[in-house]
């Protein structure tokens, strides 16, 4: 068969399959007319279509499911109804009561925490207790081999989302559905249960027109586990997680702002759903969730009356009152809302039926998932601990004024002195400084190479402990003098309240510390020096110890089970012995939609104790900004006691709080405020020798990031991608005149530009459809050379071909004249960063393997190169050849940081010679090769070019009095 024939047969087949078997023959008569071959083909396919469609390939290889006959308690699994990333739904039989039910099994990892499981069960019971016709009835809750499951009534019908896919809903029906939903919500709200994730995916319309609210409280469970931003609230246990993408559009403004939200958030969501039912359009929908959230906060949805004519004005008012930005101005209860809608159903609806044309499309009923069976509701345990506290509005003062990086603030116990780390000396490393908070010249306390970081005061203010680049932990008098090494390995020391001991940790920070046993260990040592004693050796990962005011307990970030991420939290442990207590800080942060800026999933920063004893002060990200928040916390029970409250709201990243209480009752918190910028840097290098001839020089300036640099062979110009907000274009810069020119100005985001060997052209990819273009390097029309090819990574030395990788990691070479493309490598491994040796006889590339990425070299030939012919050179991420082809440069993690390395190659065989050697290291706090968006490197003339991230910032202070 030819592709055209199949396409024709396929369309006829698809149409025929939508018909009843008895109608198909007549259909084929007309569809195939005289084409007998086509008809035969379609008929043959139709003959096996029932078998093919009943189960064939329906269960993904990735989803291992329960087999029919499996018994879960009193229920026997009959078959799979549907599956998705968040679990499977089965039809099952209740053997005791002889009825059909639906069972939803959630992935086990959602609930490996006994605490959460217990609360999950409470929720299920609360929902079951509702016993309301508009709320899905939950019969039972249990766990099966560690996976929580729910048994609910079996429904037949469609979700409201499925109905909406077919267009807007007639006004009369909208009112009818609306009344049912509002009544169900009212019943739940009366019991103190808030849904918090109401959306069309969570509303089910049965075949006989009843509406059921699903998934009460499920949002809570999943959000707590997976939240990295607000949209996570919507990643609930739908059988189809893809459906729920972007349902950030139903959040209330207070949820978007991560403020306390109550049942009135459900009323807002309800308003958005009403709007959508009436208009067929989402009330708030923008290309990205950030924009959608902004629209929720700031914009009114397009007027309904412009979309739906002759809408009863009263209904219009109901929708708008639900969608009020301020919860106080919305309906205050779902029962009021139900009454308002009921009133409409008596009067306005009949008129609406006359005036609003209703859709009568019937086709595709079968396609709407046939019988969508849904289980899933859980009750909501979600009653808020309401925080009566007023918002905190601190006074902000800037304490340092440096152009580089000044960070890691520590306030002395009396709040008068500030210690911090800064590279203001211009020597290229961070040193510890001390200054008066009220002003005055800073005093430099440390000297010498390597970053010194993270100072902290002893309780009497006489001593500062700090980290050093040699991994050691040092003590220093605040009067100055020589630093004394306390321990040879340690970070983040904190003095005990009596000043006699210090707690610290060794090893890594970040998620690796918690996921790989032994990567982070916590110790206590006497301040006079003694053998350090490990605290909580039973925790595979423990870090950031902070003393509780009683001097007997330590708060720390830990994970008692490295195989699980669910158990990561802030814990409190006695210093001596006894059980550790889980604080619930992580969950409180996640519930408020807060995450850490760096690690995304979890807050990974040492908290400061609120001076008033009201909680912990932590850095958390909400939307695009990272600010300080206060999590209410009991210093006796070691548990969180409420919702996080915002302390600061700057646009930069605000982290590293240090807090003290002043004698007049004023709370004072110093914190670092910084931003990061990406620029192209050049390193003067004798490229064939791998010899660095000077220090790295910043080649691009400005607020927009510059990434993915390539340099012309003569070294006179660079080309790079500029990441100005909202666009990502290719620019060139003449390094002698400094003139920058944009080479592209189209809509798509550009990727990885490369100069042709003679410098006259630039090849680049456009990300949206991975098409490759060539443009004159002085500017001009861009020529499409390959549609959907992927990224282009180099040119052949003669400039006639380019090489690159397809979007799924296959290396290709493209003839630029004929546009013919062929595979370079015979492999199914993931390939990246191909580049030709200067003579074109060889090429290098990165191949992903189970143990990481390695650079290989292979000989250029007409045939795809098999893996057996590859020469392994070095591990790492980006590669560039020296001009003589006898040295390969790489960005590699081999010393624990992302740095530039090189390895010599035998000129003839290209086999590596000797060990890799370091070219450029970036281990400090200010500059990082690992932060940039890309990791490409280029060589030209006498320079290595790459992009590097730079972090700059200063220290600020927030002060407030508790009300």
């Amino acid at each position: 068969m030819k592709p055209e024939q199949w396409q024709q047969a396929r369309e006829v087949l698809a149409d025929a399959l939508e018909l009843k078997p008895e109608d198909r023959s007549a259909f084929l008569d007309s569809a195939c007319s005289s084409d007998h071959t086509l008809r035969q083909e379609v008929e043959r396919l139709l003959s096996s279509s029932d078998e093919a469609r009943s189960g064939f390939l329906q269960t993904s290889a990735l989803r291992v499911t329960l087999t029919p006959g499996t018994k879960l308690g009193d229920y026997e699994v009959k078959g799979l109804l549907g599956s998705g990333g968040m679990g499977e739904v089965y039809r099952a039989r209740d053997m005791r009561l002889g009825r059909e039910v639906a069972i939803k099994v959630l992935p086990g990892y959602l609930s490996q925490d006994p605490d959460r499981l217990r609360r999950f069960e409470q929720e299920a019971r609360a929902a079951a207790a509702l016993n309301h016709p508009s709320v899905l009835a939950v019969h039972q809750f249990g766990t099966y081999e560690g996976a929580p499951y729910l048994v609910s009534e079996l429904l037949e019908g469609s979700t409201l989302r499925d109905l909406l896919l077919r267009g807007r809903i007639p006004v009369r029906k909208v009112i009818d559905h609306g009344v049912q939903i509002a009544r169900g919500l009212a019943a739940a709200h009366e019991k103190g249960i808030t849904h918090r994730d109401l959306k069309p995916e969570n509303l089910f319309v049965t075949k006989d027109g009843r509406v059921k609210i699903l998934d009460f409280g499920l949002a809570k469970l999943t959000q707590a586990r997976t939240s990295s931003d607000h949209s996570a609230a919507t990643v609930s246990a739908e059988t189809e997680p893809g459906v729920v993408m972007g349902t950030v559009g139903y959040m209330a403004p207070e949820q978007v702002r991560a403020e306390a939200a109550d049942h009135r958030a459900d009323i807002f969501a309800f308003g958005a759903i009403l709007y959508e039912m009436l208009t067929g359009k989402r009330a708030f929908q923008k290309p990205t969730s950030a924009e959608t959230m902004s629209a929720i906060l700031n914009e009114e949805p397009a007027g309904i009356s412009q979309i739906v004519q002759s809408l009863p004005p009263a209904l219009h008012r109901v929708v708008h009152r639900c969608l009020e930005k301020n919860p106080e101005q919305r309906f205050q209860s779902a029962s009021d809302l139900a009454f308002a809608l009921e009133a409409l159903s008596d009067s306005g609806s009949s008129a609406a039926v006359v005036t609003v044309p209703t859709s009568t499309r019937r086709a595709n009923w079968w396609a709407v998932a046939g019988v969508v069976l849904v289980a899933g509701a859980l009750g909501s345990l979600f009653f808020w601990i309401r925080s009566p506290r007023a918002p905190i509005t601190p006074t902000l003062t800037r304490l340092t004024w440096d152009s580089g990086l000044t960070t890691d603030p520590a306030l002395s116990p009396d709040g008068k002195l500030l210690a911090y780390a800064s590279d203001r000396s211009g020597e290229g490393h961070l040193d510890i400084y001390l200054q008066q908070v009220g002003g005055g010249e800073p005093l430099r306390l440390t000297q010498g190479p390597g970053d010194k970081r993270d100072p902290t005061f002893s309780p009497d203010g006489s001593t500062i402990a700090f980290d050093s680049a040699d991994d050691g932990l040092y003590l220093l008098s605040t009067l100055g003098g020589t630093a004394r090494k306390l321990v040879s390995k340690g970070h983040g020391a904190q003095f005990s309240p009596d000043g006699k001991q210090l707690a610290y940790w060794t090893g890594a920070s970040g998620e690796v510390a918690l996921n790989i046993p032994g990567m982070a260990r916590m110790y206590v040592v006497d301040s006079t020096g003694s053998v350090p004693k490990q605290v909580r050796p039973d925790f595979p990962g423990a870090l950031f110890p902070t003393w509780m005011p009683d001097g007997q307990h330590l708060l720390f970030l830990g994970n008692p089970d490295a195989s699980k991420i669910e158990t990561v939290d802030w814990w409190v442990t006695p210093v001596e012995s006894g059980p550790a207590v889980r604080t619930g800080v992580m969950e409180a942060m996640r519930e408020a939609g807060l995450t850490s800026d760096v690690q995304d999933l979890l807050p990974y920063e040492r908290p400061a104790l609120d001076p008033g004893g009201n909680g912990l002060i932590l850095s958390g990200r909400s939307g695009d900004s990272t600010n300080l928040w206060r999590v209410p916390f009991s210093l006796t029970k070691f548990r969180t006691t409420g919702r996080p409250q915002r302390l600061t709201s700057g646009a930069t990243r605000e982290e590293s709080p240090s807090a003290v209480g002043l004698v007049d009752g004023m709370n004072r918190v110093a914190f670092s405020s910084f931003s990061e910028n990406l620029a192209v840097w050049g390193l003067p290098t004798q490229l064939n020798q791998g010899r660095v001839m000077g220090s790295a020089e910043q080649l691009t300036q400005g607020a927009a990031g510059a990434i993915m640099p390539s340099i012309s062979r003569d070294g006179s110009r660079i080309v790079f991608v500029s990441t100005r907000p909202g666009q990502q274009e290719v620019w060139t810069k003449d390094l002698s005149t400094g003139q920058e020119t944009a080479l592209t100005a189209s809509r798509g985001r550009k990727w990885d530009p490369h100069f042709s060997p003679d410098g006259s052209q630039v090849a680049f990819a456009e990300v949206e459809n991975w098409s490759v273009f060539v443009v004159p390097s002085v500017g001009g029309a861009q020529e499409l050379v390959c549609r959907g090819c992927g990224e282009v990574t180099d040119w052949s030395p003669d400039g006639k071909r380019s090489i690159g990788n397809s979007a799924d990691g296959h290396a290709w070479v493209l003839d630029l004249a004929s546009h013919e493309r062929r595979d370079l490598l015979a492999t199914r491994r993931w390939i990246a960063t191909d580049s030709f040796s200067p003579d074109g006889q060889w090429f290098s590339f990165v191949a992903a393997g189970s143990d990481g990425q390695h650079a290989y070299v292979a000989a250029t030939s007409e045939q795809p190169s098999p893996e057996s012919a590859w020469i392994a050179v070095i591990d790492g991420e980006a590669y560039a050849w020296s001009p003589d082809g006898n040295l390969l440069y790489a960005l590699s993690w081999r010393d624990g940081h992302l740095c530039i390395w090189a390895r010599r190659l035998n000129p003839q065989t290209k086999h590596p010679v000797g060990e890799p050697f370091g070219i450029y290291h970036s281990h400090g706090g200010r500059f990082s090769l690992a932060n940039p968006i890309d990791k490409t490197m280029g060589v030209g003339s006498n320079r290595l070019v790459f992009s590097m991230g730079e972090r700059t910032g200063n220290i600020w202070m927030a002060e407030w009095k508790e009300q």
Binding site: E51, L57, M86, E145, E768, A807, D808, G809, Q853
Partner: protein, 193 residues
């Protein structure tokens, strides 16, 4: 400490979402390992419920990615495409290897996948792989849809997001592709089980 193996999935995903394209490339080998483990369970036909735990990593990766990475659709397609492709490769490799070992006895490895085939018949992975290659010649996108759905575990909606086509198109192509594959496998391999 090579960066690739020491960086956990969620961190790589976070970096990737922050726009760090390379972290995806470091992520793939990790996911690959997990997929290999899944394939192992899948083929050994161990008690399936146990794998609810082992799928956590892949689920987590999928979940994270479904939440709109700022770098857009093409990245999702990229990642899921790779996963689906890897899963296919791993399973078929296993199957071929096992076949080679058992060739003398005329044994052909099949899978007893619940619901994979009606009437308890087994799914021949190698035949499926061959048929998919044939389908790719007729319509690469349809072959891709099957790969994403069956080997990648994506739903109709997810597949539509990843490929940037409507759910209606995915459903239509998915249905006809299955009919075609079923027919193709039955015809080329008869009813052997």
């Amino acid at each position: 400490m090579p960066g690739t193996t020491s960086q956990p999935v969620s961190q790589l995903l976070a970096q990737w979402r922050a726009g760090d394209e390379e972290s995806l490339r470091r992520l793939v080998p990790l996911v690959y390992k997990e997929l290999r483990r899944l394939a192992h369970y899948y083929l050994r036909r161990e008690r399936p419920d146990h794998t609810l735990q082992t799928t956590a990593l892949v689920h987590e990766a999928y979940l994270c990615l479904m939440k709109e990475p700022p770098s857009g659709l093409e990245n999702r397609a990229h990642f899921f495409g790779v996963c689906a492709n890897l899963m296919r490769e791993i399973l078929v490799q296993y199957a071929r290897r096992r076949n080679a070992a058992k060739r003398d006895g005329g044994y052909r490895l099949t899978l007893d996948v619940a619901d994979a085939l009606p009437k308890g018949r087994n799914l021949d992975l190698i035949a499926l792989d061959d048929a998919l290659q044939e389908l790719a010649k007729l319509d690469p996108q349809q072959s891709r849809i099957v790969e994403l759905r069956f080997f990648g575990g994506l739903s109709i909606e997810e597949t539509s997001h990843v490929l940037g086509i409507s759910t209606a198109t995915v459903k239509r192509h998915w249905t006809t592709a299955r009919v075609w594959l079923y027919d193709e496998i039955s015809r080329s391999h008869g009813d052997e089980t």
